[in-house]
Amino acid sequence: MNGAMSSDPRQRILVIDDEPQIHRFLGPALDAAGYEPLRADSGQEGLRAVALWSPDAVVLDLGLPDMDGKQVLEKARAFYDGPILILSARDREVEKIEALDKGANDYVEKPFGVGELLARLRAALRHTGKAAGPLGPIRLGEVEIDLDKRLVTRAGEKVGLSPKEYALLARLATSPGKVLTQKELLVAVWGASHAQDSQYLRVFIGQLRQKLETEPSHPRLILTEPGIGYRLVEP
């Protein structure tokens, strides 16, 4: 987050996409939303731009002609830790999960409305900013999660959680609004040897919803990203 080099005080968003038509509307849209749009038309160009400009966030299309989008992601992550949003097709779940596991912050499915992209972008920019600071209690409606005190309350009353339930909720709460892949959650809570046991997740997420959601069958706090993972809503 080094705005000193630029004369423009706005946050800079780098869009890496080979489709000129996407730039044609994303540029004006980002501009109108108060960001400074930067453009790269290929993976190579994009990596150079990331290194050169150190943008505040990156929007990366996975389908690039010159190199695999996931490769761009990996290489960028070697020197860049700002938020990276992925543009990907709906039928490419595996690709999405891989990208998320390789360090992407979130994804937006093509075709997308500009409102959705901007909302995801705002969320991503927000918690990279927060992650640096100390964690305060997170309030989600009537539920409050205090990671420092290891305390979860609902309407002021303490909610009794098993150690694994707490660990799962805590992992989700460290990055609210961000989608976490099943593998990421499983490794964090149960360890690397259980990275494929997604049925654990289904059971424990169900238990958490029973304890925290007002309407467990219609969850509003812990959202499922089908085939990808889960995300905790943003406060």
Binding site: E19, R24, L26, A29, A32, V114
Partner: protein
């Protein structure tokens, strides 16, 4: 055995696995009729029935013995089936009814029985085999003298040759043997008491079959055989469990058979030797000598018979070819680790033995470390030696010989008159020589005798008398005969050799031709027909090929014509198809059929069945077998080719589908992303934007919607082409109009690119579908626009070239790499990174080619066209016959 003796023999395990689903065979074995086998069997059966087993009596011969009959009471006995043949009706065991009834245990008396003509199998043991295969346990009875390998021995003991025999393998297959024994004295007492009234063996009895010595010997044989079968089972069990043991002594027996009467006896000796050596593998071999005439008909038949017998007795067979018997045999023996060689010595060859030239002696000299067993011929088995026939009929040879002698006489007479003291004997010698060379031994000998008589009578003193004047004249006679022997024998051998190699060459030629025809035939029908023709030609009779159709075998091809088969023939055909064994005429199954059916065994599976008319090609069996083998492989190959074609078609369809999916995924989504993105931007942020930016977003929305529409149209065109639903509406068309219309359609997308048109004033009309051609030109123009920089020229031209109207579209883009040039018309083919991706999908050129092909034209691309840049697309449309323009 190898270094891992503990591992169970896989073949033994396989045999055990096969046994599991098979029925179990129990044989009640006895030394002679009357020992009480049937009685014992029935008693055991009653015990089983009392235990609740489903016991059925298929057939039992009581021979009127009351004790035996009483045992049949309360037992379920199957009715017999009448079989009519030649006006006689015989009541036989009903195999099909038994198979249908499928009892747990079935009793079938007299294992060695020969079925009435007209039954499915000629022998009862074959019926039993089928029952066992169907999973039915069978109990049967057998007297030891009926065992095939013991036929010689029993004959030696009793002087009676058994006609009803059972191959030894049929007994070895028994899972249990119960030895029914009484002492010879007891048996004789029972006979005396009238308890053994045996009409069947009345003849044997009368020939003193039941003498104590005979019975003792037979009893010993039966005991030994029973013990040996138990032994075999022990060995099999040990092998199955991988127990290390002495069974595999590594013995391997080679039985040499010739085409003489001893062949059968030699084969049986081989089997007995194998028995003595813990079932050592044994091979029956016949050496065909390349330096000798091909074996005569009778001899070849006896070799075939020996092979068949060997296979029945559980041995394997091999045909060896070589010039030197000893070298050939020893080479084979060393290659196959043979430890025992069995051969016969015929009476005729004894004089050779005196000279130390017998085969046995030669083998003994060569066979180091190999035991040689020599079996001598039993004199009564001798058969008259077939007379060797030579090229011409015999009397013709003698006549020609006589002519030569007559000519020699005339010549000698003339010489005698003209000159003095000529050795006229030489003239006659020439006649003998000529007769020998041309007609072989016997005519030569006859000519020599006649020549001597004439010479003696006419020219030797005393003249005109047959009296012999000087002892030297005898020498003349001996010389004549010697010349006749030498020349005749030599010529005969040369001729026979020529005949032999002719025959071998003919077989090789037939096989080569068949192989060529079969490999040239494409498709199952053609291969089947070619095979039928080749087999018919080789057999010299009718032949059919039957192939499976929906699991049922049916005649598929035939030579000279395809024939339908009646139920009896089809039964044999089905047998060959299902069991993989020969069936029908001349085989052990359904021999009364009018065809012989052979399974066509391919490498992977059975390909079908071939049928040869009864009686045809009996002497050509090896050739026919080779043909069938080739045919089976060819049929299989055609099958594989069909499958490969289907797979390829599927694979292509699959590739098309995945290319289509990719295309839809990318080329539909990108314009949609733009439309959705730009429109949502306008809706949500439009008030914060300048008018110019808003305008640009609206333009991009329209452009992308157009792009989508073009893409959908392309997809539909492609589907029409792929689905064969393209319908041409052809009419006389001026190509220039079409080019202008196409140019009009792309005008807005041209940007700053100047489009030049170069048309002649007069251009022939062509009969085409104008709307399709317009689409083709549009697609090519769009392609040109997509791959060339703004401001570069695009040139549209039309002209006539010989019988064609040619359209040329040139751009100044960066061209197509040579490697890509031939693939640019492929579906979903798109060069990397077009400067403007609005073309999309890579379908444009594929559609262009499809449409042009449909109109009978041709399309081609050339690149680069100048300075390493640019692409030229040429469309050539035929002017058909005379165009209206030419008529004007």
């Amino acid at each position: 055995m190898t270094g891992e003796p503990k591992r169970p023999d896989p073949e033994a395990l396989l045999a055990a696995a096969n046994k599991a689903s098979r029925g179990r065979l129990k044989v009640f074995l006895g030394m002679a009729p009357g020992v009480g086998k049937t009685y014992e069997m029935l008693r055991a059966a009653r015990r089983r029935k009392a235990q609740g087993k489903d016991v059925l009596i298929g057939l039992v011969e009581t021979h009127g013995r009351r004790e035996t009959e009483s045992l049949l009471r309360d037992m379920e006995v199957m009715p017999r089936r009448p079989i009519e043949h030649g006006g006689r009706v015989q009541m036989e065991f009903d195999l099909d009814a038994a198979l249908q009834r499928k009892p747990a245990i079935l009793l079938v008396d007299e294992y060695a029985h020969s079925n009435a003509t007209g039954s499915r199998h000629p022998k009862r043991w074959q019926d039993v085999e089928e029952l066992l295969a169907a999973g039915i346990d069978v109990w049967t009875t057998l007297n030891v003298q009926h065992l095939e390998s013991l036929v010689d021995v029993v004959q030696r003991i009793t002087g009676v040759r058994q006609r009803e025999t059972v191959p030894d393998s049929a007994l070895s297959r028994a899972d249990a043997i119960e030895f029914v024994d009484i002492t010879p004295d007891e048996l004789r007492e029972r006979m005396a008491a009238g308890k053994v009234y045996v009409p069947e063996t009345a003849r044997l009895a009368s020939e003193n079959f039941f003498k104590v010595e005979n019975l003792t010997a037979l009893r010993e044989l039966a005991l030994r055989r029973a013990a040996q079968t138990v032994d075999d089972q022990l060995v099999a069990a040990m092998r199955e469990r991988g127990v290390e043991g002495p069974w595999a002594a590594g013995e391997r027996i080679l039985v040499l058979v010739g085409g003489d009467a001893m062949a059968g006896a030699l084969v049986r000796t081989g089997r007995r030797l194998s028995d003595m050596m813990m079932d050592a593998p044994w091979i029956v071999a016949h050496v065909e000598r390349t330096d000798r005439p091909a074996a005569g008909e009778g001899s070849a038949a006896r070799v075939r018979e020996a092979y068949r017998l060997a296979e029945q007795l559980g041995g394997s067979t091999v045909a060896l070819t070589g010039g030197d018997i000893v070298a050939t045999v020893m080479a084979y023996a060393r290659r196959n680790n043979v430890t025992q060689i069995v051969l016969g010595k015929s009476v005729e060859s004894r004089w050779r033995e005196v000279l130390g030239r017998s085969l046995a002696a030669a083998l003994l000299r060569e066979a180091r470390g190999v035991a040689v067993h020599v079996v001598t011929e039993a004199t009564h088995e001798r058969e008259p030696r077939p007379v060797r026939a030579l090229g011409l009929g015999r009397w013709q040879g003698y006549a020609v010989g006589a002519l030569f002698v007559a000519a020699a006489t005339l010549a000698a007479w003339g010489l005698d008159v003209a000159f003095d003291r000529v050795d006229l004997g030489m003239i006659f010698l020439a006649a003998v020589l000529a007769a020998g060379v041309l007609h072989g031994l016997r005519p030569a000998l006859a000519a020599a005798t006649v020549a001597f008589l004439v010479y003696n009578y006419l020219f030797l003193a005393p003249r005109y008398s047959l009296a012999i004047g000087a002892p030297t004249d005898f020498i003349t006679l001996v010389v004549f005969w010697a010349v006749a022997l030498a020349s005749g024998g030599l010529a005969g051998r040369v001729r026979d050799q020529a005949l032999g190699s002719q025959r071998r060459a003919a077989a090789v030629t037939t096989l080569l031709a068949a192989s060529r025809t079969l490999s040239a035939a494409t498709g199952r029908d053609a291969v089947a027909q070619a095979l039928a023709e080749q087999v018919a030609a080789a057999a010299g009779g009718r032949a059919l090929v039957l192939l499976p159709e929906n699991g049922e075998i049916a005649p598929f091809a035939g030579s000279p014509s395809l024939e339908a088969l009646d139920a009896a023939q089809m039964a044999a055909a089905r047998w060959a198809w299902e069991k993989g064994e020969a069936a029908g005429f001349g085989t052990g199954t359904l021999p009364q059929a009018r065809w012989t059916f052979w399974p066509l065994e391919g490498v992977r599976a059975r390909a079908g069945v071939a049928a040869v008319e009864a009686g045809a090609g009996a002497d050509q069996e090896p050739l026919i077998m080779a043909l069938l083998e080739q045919g089976a492989v060819a049929l299989e190959r055609s099958q594989l080719a069909t499958e490969a074609l289907e797979t390829e078609t599927l694979r292509r369809a699959d590739r098309f589908r995945s290319a289509l999916m990719n295309s839809v995924s990318h080329d539909l989504r990108t314009p949609l992303s733009t439309v959705l993105g730009a429109s949502s931007t306008l809706l949500e942020l439009g008030d914060k934007m300048s008018k110019a930016v808003r305008q640009d977003l609206l333009v991009s929305i329209r452009e992308e919607a157009e792009r989508l529409s073009r893409y959908v149209a392309n997809l539909l065109d492609m589907t029409r082409l792929e689905g064969g639903a393209l319908r041409l509406r052809t009419d006389w068309t001026d190509v220039r109009d079409v080019l202008n219309a196409a140019a009009q359609r792309v005008e807005r997308r041209l940007g700053q690119r100047p489009l030049s048109r170069d048309y002649p004033d007069r251009l022939s009309m062509v009969r085409i579908d104008a709307s399709l051609l317009e689409q083709v030109v549009v697609n090519i123009l769009e392609n040109a626009i997509a791959y060339s920089a703004d401001g570069s020229r695009i040139e549209l031209a039309a002209y006539e070239d010989r019988g064609n109207v040619v359209i040329s579209i040139e751009d100044e883009g960066r061209g197509v790499p040579p490697a890509e040039l031939e693939r640019i018309f492929d579906k979903f083919r798109r060069m990397e990174e077009p400067s403007d991706r609005s073309q999309g999908a890579g379908l444009g050129l594929a559609i262009a080619k499809g449409f042009i092909d449909a109109m009978g034209g041709r399309i081609a691309a050339a690149s680069p066209i100048h300075d390493g840049r640019g692409t030229r697309m040429l469309i050539s449309l035929p002017k058909t016959i005379a165009t209206p323009h030419d008529l004007l």
